[in-house]
């Protein structure tokens, strides 16, 4: 079937199969491999993309359901000048990832949170983000990155290493 939708701000028309998932369409047809597949069961959040601004698990969301809607992936977040979205910058500043496999989904889920609630409490961040798994970091740095953006404080991109205690 043929569907038309908006992808990262551009109008797109694609011939797809009815059984195709959004993740399959984005990864294979649109070459947007920032959409990561892990659990494929709506548990881990790695494949999170935004459909009309709301986070969905692209692994189990049928591609045809995006017809007439706006889809945003991690590739669509930075400005065309290359300037990073504040959340992307905050993830860099806070070292909020290691292997990076969860990061696109994590950043998009955080964007949906901040779009809905620009100044969430700590508890609200935890509750909203609980559907996105990260196996590397232990989550603390991700919470800090989200709080940095919520506070409107842009980081300088350079940690000082002052946190290193020497005995």
């Amino acid at each position: 079937m043929k569907i038309a939708f908006e992808l990262n701000g551009a109008s797109v028309e694609l011939e797809i199969e009815g059984r195709e998932t959004l993740a399959e369409m984005l990864r294979a047809r649109c070459r947007l491999t920032g959409v990561k597949l892990s659990c494929e069961a709506q548990v881990c959040g790695a494949c999170t993309v935004l459909v009309n601004g709301l986070p969905v698990s692209a692994c189990t969301f049928l591609a045809y359901e995006t017809r007439g809607k706006h889809v945003v992936t991690i590739e669509g977040l930075a400005e065309s000048t290359g300037k990073l979205h504040p959340l992307q910058q905050a993830f860099l500043d806070n070292f909020a990832f290691q292997c990076g496999f969860c990061t696109p989904g994590m950043i998009l889920a955080a964007k949906a949170l901040l779009d809905e609630k620009p100044h969430p409490t700590h508890e609200e961040i935890i509750a909203y983000m609980d559907g996105n798994l990260c196996r590397c970091t232990g989550y603390l740095a991700i919470v800090k990155a989200i709080q940095q953006v919520a506070a409107g404080a842009a980081g300088n991109g350079h940690g000082s290493g002052d946190g290193a205690g020497k005995r």
Binding site: F101, T103, L140, H158, G159, G165
Partner: protein, 772 residues
């Protein structure tokens, strides 16, 4: 030696070199790659845990439109179809027999993934079922059927001094260590703690499941892209399978979506390479997470242990028998057994020790490395007993540990490098951070536990740096960037040494056709060994450039004064790139500095370094539901020097979080021959809401390691103590001692009920679940 404060790039939390790629979705993982003319493979898996393959009929599958080839035991031709770095017992596809539910029995290669998947239904396999051997006791029972009834070759990277393998019945590997006279010591001891502990089967859940693309080309050259942690070990296995010279095999590792030990060693690469060899096409095999559950797990361990003290609180003896359920194939379980045997001693001076370990084959998913490599399995029992003994001695558990911890320079194992860390200092720091002296709120308990791991693995690490005439520097490293940040840390070291901006250093690797040999990326070795190799390679490059500078200046080398980033003669100063340009009289030329580290000199003694884990927790127990949550968590990374402090701390928190997962809820459960919870719907890993309310991440930077600037590795230590911390803290607040991980709400609730019931019947303190 330079001290913190003297460094320009090192010891600073610079931006990650892979950062922008990872936050913009442009970082390429193997799962994102495609090759021209690439076909796809899918795997048919055994429904039986233990059976003889009577026949495989794949003729219908081969005829299905879109199918290019099928690979079964009948198609391996004159390949050497077994692999394994320790024991070559693992067939690339089942041969004659299946040994666990989920074992690959055939692969279909097709034009697309769906066709390959559909064609699996066309393959008919006839099995003759055997009684499955599903636990250690059945495997060791007299007359038990041998899971492996043929001989095997030793792998090339066993890691044992003795290259011979000695499989006895279903025992894959035995390890024994002993010193002193344990029996005598127990007879005269003042107090003894004795018990049986169980550490569960676990799944590492690297978020990117195993994936590989193989291209066996028309010239007989093999290129493999893989999510493997140790590309050089994979290269060796592939060279053996295809009976090829090493330089015919090229293994490339792009970004890797998590490992934690689970991507160590060869996994699916021989199968995928054989699919390419068979079909004449580049072939990709992307496993699902469900298939990854059926590929590798962590060894579960049953530990029977007793520990003795004298009346003054000095440890006098420890004896343990450890049984690992190794699953169907050896993988790295022989080394897990060996490391656990060493690591159960802990960071303590114990004059009498006897440890006997057995890695036992069963008809379950093959077990292998998991973060900590055997240490998590044995720190739980060892550190639980430290608290049990402290109670018998009526001593504070921290003071009891301090009385027995080895100081820097003291030996905890007569054949090992003396302790190269300030373990008592680390313990004091964590205890002070958690304010152990403060009164506890109701239902709260606190505990600090520790571990010492002989880390670094066998030190053979080779590196090159290329210094370019425009002032840029490339580091060619065979260490895999699996998220730990090695591409950033190694670039920092090169920038520090060469005196160039961090941004001008590029990391190249891992690619076995380009980068020099590095044994492995694991055992926390990269910063210590590859970091040091990069440092030495930079200094060797500088030595070469100084010779060139002497010629350019027309003076003797001794007359040149070296400054960071160049040399000076009188008033004239030239940078390294300027010297290269003058020397070659052309732009673009680059030179190579190299370093070859091996087990010699100050790397002769094993281990390369001791990785210390010290973790403290304060827990809050809901006695109505049995649910435990972490109120506070404190770690300390005793890393000598943190090349990148923020990433070092993040490694510790990540490790402690994995430790909490096993401590509270992670466990693979078998029901009969079937793995019951092999999906992420049913296997519970830590989430945002499991985070401790208060997190304290400390670093100890005493520059006491053999790595660059005194650095040592990190990232595994903090996994080990967490299970015991939770068990001890639970005992402290509730009086129940649980000797089986994970400490789930159900187990806590039952233990509390039993305690209440036994209190009602006026008996002594309940000791529950001592028998699994």
């Amino acid at each position: 030696m330079k001290r913190p404060g003297d460094f320009q790039v090192v010891n600073h939390s610079v931006p990650r070199s892979d950062g922008v790629a990872k936050v913009t979705g442009t970082a390429t993982y193997t799962s994102d790659m495609t090759l021209v003319h690439m076909a796809w493979a899918k795997v048919l898996r055994s429904p039986y845990a233990h059976a003889r393959i009577v026949s495989i009929d794949s003729s219908a599958a081969r005829k299905r439109p879109g199918v290019i080839a099928v690979l079964t035991e009948d198609d391996v031709g004159d390949l050497y179809p077994y692999y394994g770095h320790a024991v070559k017992d693992h067939p690339l596809v089942a041969i004659g027999k299946v040994r666990f539910v989920g074992e690959p029995i055939a692969a279909v290669i097709a034009e697309d993934e769906l066709t390959a998947q559909d064609a699996l239904d066309d393959i008919n396999v006839e099995y003759e079922e055997f009684t499955p051997i599903l636990d250690v006791d059945s495997a060791l029972a007299p007359g038990a059927q041998k899971i492996h009834d043929r001989g095997y070759r030793a792998g090339n990277f066993r890691g044992f001094d003795d290259q011979s393998i000695d499989i006895k019945g279903n025992i894959c590997q035995e390890v024994h260590i002993a010193w002193g006279d344990v029996e005598k010591a127990f007879v005269s001891a003042a107090h003894i703690a004795e018990g049986e502990f169980y550490f569960p089967m676990i799944y590492a859940y690297a978020m990117e499941p195993y994936v590989a693309i193989a291209d066996y080309d028309a010239n007989g050259k093999l290129t493999v892209y893989s999510s493997a942690q140790h590309p050089f070990m994979v290269r060796q296995d592939l060279a053996d399978v295809f009976r090829m010279p090493l330089n015919n095999v090229r293994v490339v590792v792009p970004f890797v979506g998590g490992g934690y030990g689970s991507k160590s060693y060869t996994k699916i690469e021989p199968l995928v390479a054989a699919c390419s060899w068979k079909s004449g096409r580049p072939v990709k095999l992307q496993l699902s997470v469900e298939e990854a559950f059926l590929t590798t797990r962590g060894d579960d361990a049953r530990v029977r242990i007793r520990t003795a003290v004298d009346a003054q609180g000095k440890l006098v003896a420890r004896q343990a028998t450890i049984h690992f359920d190794t699953g169907a194939y050896a993988e790295n379980s022989p080394m897990v057994a060996r490391k656990a045997t060493n690591r159960i001693v802990g960071p303590y001076r114990i004059p009498n020790v006897k440890i006997d370990s057995f890695a036992v084959y069963t008809n379950t998913v093959p077990a292998s490395s998991y973060r900590g490599l055997g240490a998590a399995q044995v720190t739980f029992p060892g550190e639980s007993q430290m608290d049990e003994l402290a109670e018998k001695l009526r001593m504070d558990p921290v003071q009891f540990r301090l009385k027995n911890l080895a100081n820097r320079g003291e030996s905890i194992n007569p054949v090992a490098r003396p302790i190269d860390a300030d373990v008592p200092g680390d313990l004091r720091e964590v205890a002070a951070t958690l304010h152990m002296e403060k009164p506890l709120p109701p239902h709260h308990g606190r505990s600090v536990c520790c571990s010492a791991s002989d880390a670094g693995a066998h030190p053979v690490t080779l590196a090159m740096v290329q210094v370019y005439g425009d002032g840029s520097v490339s580091v060619l490293s065979g260490s895999t960037e699996i998220g730990q940040g090695s591409h950033t840390v190694l670039a920092q070291i090169a920038a520090e040494e060469m005196g160039v901006p961090f941004e001008k250093v590029r990391l190249v690797g891992s690619d076995t056709a380009i980068t020099l040999f590095e044994r492995s990326t694991g055992a926390s070795r990269t910063t210590t060994l590859m970091g040091r190799a990069v440092l030495e390679a930079c200094r060797e490059a500088i030595a070469q450039i100084k010779t060139m500078a002497a010629e350019v200046f027309g003076v003797a080398q001794e007359d040149l004064i070296e400054e960071r980033g160049g040399v000076r003669h009188g008033e004239k100063r030239l940078t390294w790139p300027e010297i290269l340009e003058e020397y070659f009289q052309m732009q673009g030329a680059s030179i190579v500095g190299r370093a070859y580290l091996r087990r010699a000199g100050d790397l002769q003694a094993v281990p390369v370094f001791w990785e210390i884990g010290v973790v403290g927790v304060e827990i809050d127990v809901d006695e109505e539901t049995g649910k435990i949550r972490l109120d506070s968590l404190a770690t300390i990374g005793d890393v000598g020097l943190a090349i990148h402090p923020a990433m070092t701390e993040s490694q510790d928190l990540g490790a402690a979080t994995m430790g909490m997962g096993v401590g509270l809820f992670e466990e693979l459960i078998y029901d009969g021959q079937q793995l019951m919870n092999g999906t992420m719907l049913e296997y519970r890993v830590p989430r945002f809401s499991d985070m401790a309310s208060n997190i304290y991440l400390k670093l100890a930077q005493n520059q006491d390691g053999v790595g660059p600037y005194g650095a040592k590795g990190g990232g595994e230590g903090s996994v080990n103590p967490v299970g015991a911390c939770i068990a001890n803290a639970l005992y402290q607040t509730s009086g129940v001692r649980i000797r089986r991980l994970p400490i789930t709400p159900e187990r806590v609730w039952k233990a509390l009920q039993e305690k209440k019931e036994s209190a009602a019947s006026n008996s002594s303190t309940a000791h529950v679940l001592s028998k699994p």
